[in-house]
């Protein structure tokens, strides 16, 4: 077999892409620790003064709390509703299954601008005053398809004969779900919940439309930018980045690791193994 030649051009493209992707992030992170207010090199020393400064800001702290509350509510409600919907969707033999799945996944393809605007119009028509609750509802619409995509794929991979075996052993539907189905998929569902939390936590466009007088962290960053450009923005952005990265990492670890369980359920090839 021919080994692939490593062309200097290809390596160059890779390095350039990485630089292009990560240097702006790095700049933000580095300058969040800058000891002076200048956003230019040379780097004059390390300090946490900008973090201390934002922590003193009531506006920052309330928007951080708001984001956390909205993301938690969105994550939890998504987990409960999404799990039930995914279970129903993967278990049904109805002819409506495919169109229903399409409808549930459709919001993935809609621009945030459109979702935000239509929700705003709807809330207006329904005379619901805008608040963090309307944000949570909007986020639910936004993150549900992501959750469902993961949950349905996982549930469908499960071996149906496991559920039949449990029913055969006397388990009611509820017992089958809690004792057989959930134990196999809960890590993946937790991972998908973290993803929902992360998506909600740093969502900007839809939030911008449906939020009331309060502010969330991304909105706070946006409004600060319009006032001043000082390194405290970098500190906030770095925090947001850090939280989001941790959540995505957790989500990734759980969803990929959790998929392992069902490999044991269908030992067709295992059945070919020798006895001793």
């Amino acid at each position: 077999m021919m080994s692939r030649q490593r062309s200097p051009f290809a390596s160059g493209v890779v390095v350039a892409s990485l630089v292009f992707l990560f240097v702006p992030l790095l700049v933000v992170v580095v300058f969040s620790f800058h000891s002076v207010g200048a956003l230019t090199l040379p780097f004059r020393g390390f300090s946490l003064r900008w973090y201390r400064q934002i922590w003193k800001s009531d506006e920052f702290r309330s928007s951080l709390v708001n984001s956390a509350v909205v993301a938690s509510v969105t994550g939890l409600v998504t987990m409960v509703l999404g799990t039930l919907a995914a279970y129903a969707l993967s278990a049904t033999r109805s002819r409506l299954r495919a169109p229903l799945a399409l409808l549930l996944f459709l919001p993935l393809t809609l621009p945030g601008l459109f979702v935000g605007l239509s929700l705003l119009v709807m809330f207006g028509r329904a005379t619901v005053s805008l608040s963090l609750w309307t944000v949570a509802v909007a986020h639910l619409v936004y993150v549900m398809p992501y959750f469902l995509l993961i949950a349905v794929a996982t549930l469908q991979r499960l071996d149906v004969s496991l559920e039949e075996a449990a029913a055969d052993l006397g388990a009611t539907r509820w017992v089958v779900f809690t004792k057989v189905t959930l134990p196999q998929v809960w890590p993946v569902l937790m991972g998908a919940t973290f993803l929902a939390f992360a998506l909600s936590f740093d969502e900007f466009v839809i939030t911008f439309f449906v939020i009331g007088p309060e502010s969330t962290l991304p909105l706070y960053i946006f409004s600060s930018l319009r006032r001043t450009v000082d390194p405290s923005i970098n500190a906030i952005s770095t925090l947001l980045l850090g939280i989001t990265l941790v959540l995505f990492a957790l989500s990734f670890a759980l969803t990929t690791r959790g998929g392992r369980g069902d490999a044991l359920a269908g030992p067709v090839e295992g059945g070919r193994l020798d006895e001793h």
């Binding site: 055969d168 052993l169 006397g170 369980g261 067709v268 295992g270 070919r272």
Partner: protein, 382 residues
């Protein structure tokens, strides 16, 4: 070993009380259609207490559908299912006093062996100390004592299927349903497991309803065999009946190997029919008249030195070694396909040799031929 029958939780309906004399399992005119496709076309079958009944047939013949209907995983389009004389057609799977072993072990991957086996009794509310004893008992019965704390993925295919068996029998079901439980295993382990199944059946005294496409398994295990084809039962009988007195050419070909030859039967002397193979007239027991199938098993064909001109003669066109003897293909003029013959011992006859072909009158049978119905059988016997 005396077994106390313990019913599953929720089996609140009165199926504990056996209607005296009722069969353990009874399928009455069970029909199942999927859209426009008929999987089962009105099938009736019974299994007596303690009986080992096998549903045998090629894939897609409806045998698994019937088993799943008995288990409660599928509902019949028409007809009913009775257990101990009680109609359970509308009773959901988890409330039927039957247990099933699937083609794949379907062990719960998040539980160890002991917890897998304890799943049923735990739902039935069996107390801790008894639960443990019963799990250990069941594992001992499938010879897996000491495997309590293994995980499914640490077991071999045969061991997994044993755990699946233990998980079913620990509930002490009166009816054990088995859906091709050995089909995914290696031949050597399959033979071992066959022995285990026979032993379990003897020791448990439960009714076994067993689905397989393997005629050898069916013959080796069953008290009675129901041969399925195209959603219908072709024949129900003991292994001996099904093998030696097949009701249809389909059964003859499915169960064991057979030469099935299209003939025209004319009245013979007294209780026999006269058929012609090529130019040679032969008398066959039975009173079939008109178009017929002549069925003769390869091991019942006797080959010898050609004598006279009256007897049936042919030329050997193929020889293969079969361990206990040799299998031949004999070309007989006037027959569309060479005849299969299996002769114990050697030395082998050579290809091209002329031989006489004979069989005992009791070793062949004559079946009515309906060219319309048996159209798929035209050209059999090759």
């Amino acid at each position: 070993m005396r077994l106390r029958v313990q019913w599953k939780a929720g089996a609140s309906m009165n199926i504990e009380n056996t209607v005296t004399g009722a069969p353990r399992v009874e399928a009455i005119a069970v029909q199942r259609r999927f859209g426009g496709v008929t999987a089962l076309g009105g099938v009736s079958l019974t299994a007596a207490p303690g009986e080992f009944v096998t549903l045998l047939g090629p894939s897609g013949c409806g045998k698994t559908t019937l088993l799943r209907i008995i288990a409660g995983f599928d509902q019949p389009t028409a007809g009913s299912v009775r257990l101990n004389g009680h109609d359970v057609t509308k009773v959901p799977a988890h409330r039927r006093p039957v247990n099933m072993v699937f083609q794949r072990p379907a062990l719960f991957p998040h539980l160890d062996v002991a917890r897998n086996v304890a799943f049923g009794p735990r739902i039935a509310g069996i107390g801790k100390s008894e639960l443990r004893a019963r799990v250990d008992d069941a594992l001992a019965m499938v010879r897996l004592d000491g495997y309590q704390h293994r995980r499914a993925h640490e077991l071999s295919g045969g061991q997994m299927q044993r755990v699946a068996l233990a998980r079913a029998i620990v509930n002490r079901p009166e009816v054990l349903l088995l859906d091709e439980p050995l089909s995914a295993l290696d031949l050597r382990i399959r033979l071992e497991m066959e022995e285990e199944l026979r032993r379990l059946h003897r020791e448990l005294g439960a009714t076994f309803v067993y689905v397989t496409h393997d005629q050898r398994e069916a013959l080796a295990l069953s008290d009675r065999i129901a041969v399925f084809s195209g959603g219908q039962i072709e024949q129900v009988g003991t292994p001996d009946e099904v093998y030696n007195r097949p009701a249809t050419p389909f059964v003859a070909r499915l169960v064991g190997d057979a030469n099935v030859i299209a003939v025209d039967a004319a009245p013979g002397e007294s209780d026999s029919s006269l058929v012609h193979l090529g130019d040679v007239p032969l008398l066959v027991n039975g009173s079939v008249r008109g178009p017929a199938w002549l069925v003769v098993r390869p091991e019942n064909v006797q080959l010898g030195l050609p004598v006279g001109t009256e007897s049936l003669c042919g030329t050997i066109v193929d020889v293969s070694f079969r361990g206990t003897g040799f299998a031949y293909r004999v070309d007989i003029s006037g027959l569309p396909h060479p005849l299969k013959a299996e002769v114990p011992g050697g030395p082998p006859l050579a290809v091209g040799e002329r031989v006489s072909v004979a069989w005992l009158p009791s070793a062949v049978c004559l079946l009515t031929r309906d060219d319309h119905r048996d159209s798929d059988m035209i050209g059999v016997g090759h």
